[in-house]
């Protein structure tokens, strides 16, 4: 028994020594930075950075092949932490979120044909341009919902999809998936959006949707941050000017959404909200008309007075 014990202990001792020596001799060098980076990765493996998963991104960072701001779910906080580990300065970037730029639900842009195929926008779009009358609008079949790793996209009651900006991490997967390029990346803090994607002229837009942008440029008069290209108003999110709430009120199609006034859910799904907005817009337009008329009258009066004065002067001169 003593022999057995001592043999066992001996073997254990020898093995322990061997292991201890081996650990030192055959040590695999692991980048300290990589280890630290791996720990702070969000672990969503969404691919938004362009690398294969979080570990791929961490490796690329350690090798100096990736930008510290490339991780959309991590955002500026992660970028800062990465900067600390790598010992580099990180410029804060603005958080971006996805926005579905279409508000033409089943009520505004009705279906032109019955569709009983699979719930996939690409497949539906391939069949005669899809069942929706507007071929630039959201079909609401939810291909984007399937690719979103964060559960940030949901269907609305009126046949559209919507991105929850609080859950959206800006990984752009939905942007790539949408066959009609309706989903756009916008700054999270932006509060005014043109919810239309149809570049056609007024007549064609009105034929297929009651809330589509016709490119009338009335909003452009209210704000310099809105531009019209191809008969479609687009918000220039890089412009510094704050968009006044009159831009939305001026739109005859109610295609501009102002998140300072209404929640997106109410805007899209609550008819009462739309009615209240329409009333506000009508009031504003009436007031604007009155104001303009007054201004014109004033200008006219001024002009008249000036002319009278001039005429009087002329008379005087004539007299003299």
């Amino acid at each position: 028994m003593v022999t057995a014990l001592s043999v066992l202990c001996g073997v254990g001792l020898v093995m322990a020594v061997l292991l201890a020596v081996g650990r030192k001799a055959f040590a695999v060098e692991v980048d300290k930075k990589l280890e630290l980076l791996m720990k702070i990765m969000p672990g969503a493996n969404c691919g938004g950075c362009g690398f294969p998963g979080c570990s791929g991104y961490a490796r690329a960072l350690a090798d100096g092949k990736a930008e510290p701001t490339a991780c959309p779910p991590g955002g500026p906080t992660l970028a800062e932490e990465i900067g600390k580990i790598l010992g580099i300065e990180v410029e804060a970037s603005e958080p971006m979120v996805a926005l579905v730029s279409c508000a033409g639900g089943n009520d505004a842009s009705p279906k032109r044909s019955q569709y009983s195929g699979i719930e996939d926008c690409k497949a539906a779009h391939a069949i005669a341009g899809g069942p929706k009358s507007c071929v630039y609008g959201c079909m609401g079949l939810g291909s984007c919902i399937h690719v979103c790793s964060f559960g940030a996209i949901y269907k609305t009651a009126n046949g559209l999809v919507r991105v929850d900006p609080e859950k959206c991490t800006g990984c752009k997967k939905c942007v790539e998936t949408c066959p009609r390029n309706i989903i756009k990346m916008v700054p999270k803090k932006a509060d005014v959006h043109v919810l239309c994607n149809n570049p056609q002229k007024a007549k064609e837009v009105k034929a297929v949707c009651s809330v589509g942008c016709t490119g009338c440029k009335l909003c452009v008069k209210q704000s310099k941050a809105i531009e019209v290209t191809d008969a479609l108003a687009v918000v220039n999110y890089r412009a510094d000017t704050k968009i006044s709430d009159t831009a939305a009120l001026a739109c005859p199609q109610n295609a501009i959404f102002d998140s300072r006034q209404y929640s997106i859910t109410d805007w899209l799904e609550n008819p009462a909200t739309k009615e209240a907005f329409k009333k506000r817009a009508a009031d504003w337009k009436a007031e604007e008309k009155k104001r303009k008329a007054e201004a014109k009258a004033k200008a006219g009066a001024k002009k008249d007075a000036a002319e009278k004065k001039e005429a009087a002067n002329g008379d005087k001169e004539g007299d003299a």
Binding site: Q114, S116, I118, I127, A128, G129
Partner: protein, 439 residues
């Protein structure tokens, strides 16, 4: 006589009796003709006329946009009203030449050829190209491209497809009955161009009158007429080759890989008309039928005639219609409007009453394997569709999704009414997109 066929396929209701005995009648061209610049597979044609130009019947109004492309001709004489996008058969607006018909029917001088046997194959091919001929079975692949196989792929057999396996359609049937000699002459021209010794015409058994008409027309030639089993998709290129020659076209390959070229009987007639009479492809036979059509029939329609005009002639009440299909019921295109014009590939116009339209409600797959038995390409549609659902497109590719020709046999047989073809089509487009990205 033995009846030839392939493995797989289905037996849908044929419903050809309404129109099979109706002779082809000409339909007068309407006041306004809308001719799409892309009626074929390949590069769209470029318009070579402008608003206000006077055009004659048969005049070129669109020049080919590349080798895999064909010219487009005016089917009437009149004035070009516009060159603008109009609704096409695929549900989206496509560039079209709109012509106001002056009803003078003034045609350009067609260059006739007395004896094509003395002319070189290249000249014949040029004539076919200039006439804008495409596959008239519905696939609309430019014929001159099909007749130009690379030198390392010699063609020994030309098969004319007279199967017309799509239910309801009888256009090819009537062409074989009424223009048998022209079809045979067209086949001989194609054989000369390809230097192919064997010529075979395959006809489904349900057209015995067409078989005897063609046999009579073939007397004194080496051309064989064979009977095919009544089965869909008997007229598919690869199925036809399998049935007639017992040869298998390799996966991803073309009929020319086994030394065969397949042409539709309508195309053969168009080839003959182009070579002998010099007439370009400006009209085609269209079968108009379905439960909502009061006066069904086979009509010779000028290319560019709006479908609504044809339907008016056949006394169709579009208010009552539940479904409008251009082409056959299996592979045709459902429409949401009767505005699109009849194009080179429009073999049929089907209109059904609302009560005849079945709306499907897919249920889960029960692994019964009926799609597997039906698939003429010997694929496993249920598996490919499942991979498509899971977005595992690489797996779908490994299961040869790209060999699917979208004939619809699997979906037709599915007891769970799963839209298998749509799922496979989605997988195919994703696989091709991924391959393009890779380069």
């Amino acid at each position: 006589m033995t009846v030839l066929t392939f493995k797989g396929g289905i037996h849908p209701k044929y419903n050809k009796d309404n129109t099979a005995s109706k002779p082809i009648t000409s339909l007068a061209a309407p006041k306004e003709i809308v001719i799409p610049l892309s009626q074929h597979i390949g590069a769209p044609a470029r318009a070579c006329v402008e608003k206000g130009d006077a055009v004659k019947r048969g005049q070129v109004i669109g020049e080919p946009g590349g080798f895999v492309s064909v010219p487009i001709h005016s089917s009437v004489s009149g004035e070009v009203k516009a060159v603008e996008p109009r609704l096409g058969a695929m549900g989206v607006a496509v560039p079209c030449v709109v012509i106001e018909n002056d009803e003078q029917n003034e045609a350009v001088e067609f260059e006739r050829l007395a004896d094509w046997k003395k002319v070189s194959p290249d000249t014949l091919k040029d004539k076919i190209n200039a006439a804008g001929i495409v596959g008239m079975g519905g696939a609309t692949f430019p014929t001159h491209v099909k007749l130009s196989p690379p030198n390392n792929k010699p063609i020994d057999t030309v098969i004319l497809n007279g199967a017309e396996c799509e239910p309801y359609l009888t256009a090819d049937h009537r062409v074989m009955l009424e223009h048998a000699e022209h079809v045979v002459e067209g086949l001989q021209i194609i054989q000369k161009i390809l230097n192919a010794k064997t010529g075979i015409i395959g006809i489904e058994e349900n057209k015995p009158d067409a078989v005897s008409a063609m046999e009579k027309a073939c007397e004194g030639t080496d051309i064989k007429v064979v009977r095919l089993e009544i089965k869909y998709p008997q007229g598919g290129e690869k199925q036809l080759i399998d049935a007639v020659l017992k040869k298998e076209v390799p996966s991803g390959g073309l009929p020319m890989d086994v030394g065969v070229v397949v042409q539709n009987v309508g195309t053969a007639k168009a080839v003959r008309d182009a070579v002998v009479d010099g007439i370009p492809l400006i009209e085609r036979v269209v079968t108009v039928t379905g439960s909502a059509v009061a006066k069904p029939g086979n009509f010779m329609v000028s290319i560019g005639t709006p479908v609504s005009v044809v339907l008016e002639h056949c006394e169709v009440d579009l208010e009552k219609a539940g479904k409008l299909i251009l082409g056959g019921p299996m592979m045709g295109f459902a429409q949401y409007s009767a505005e699109p014009p009849v194009a080179k590939g429009t073999s049929g116009i089907l209109v059904f009453e609302e009560k005849d339209v079945e709306v499907t409600h897919p249920l889960p797959c029960i692994r019964c394997g009926r799609c597997l038995d039906a698939c003429p390409m010997r694929l496993v549609p249920a598996d490919i569709a499942a991979y498509s659902d899971k977005r595992m497109y690489d797996k779908a590719d490994a299961n040869d999704a790209l060999d699917c020709m979208e004939c619809g046999s699997c979906a037709h047989q599915c007891p769970s009414q799963i839209p298998l073809v749509q799922k496979i089509r989605l997988a195919k487009s994703e696989i091709l997109a991924a391959k393009r990205k890779k380069g």
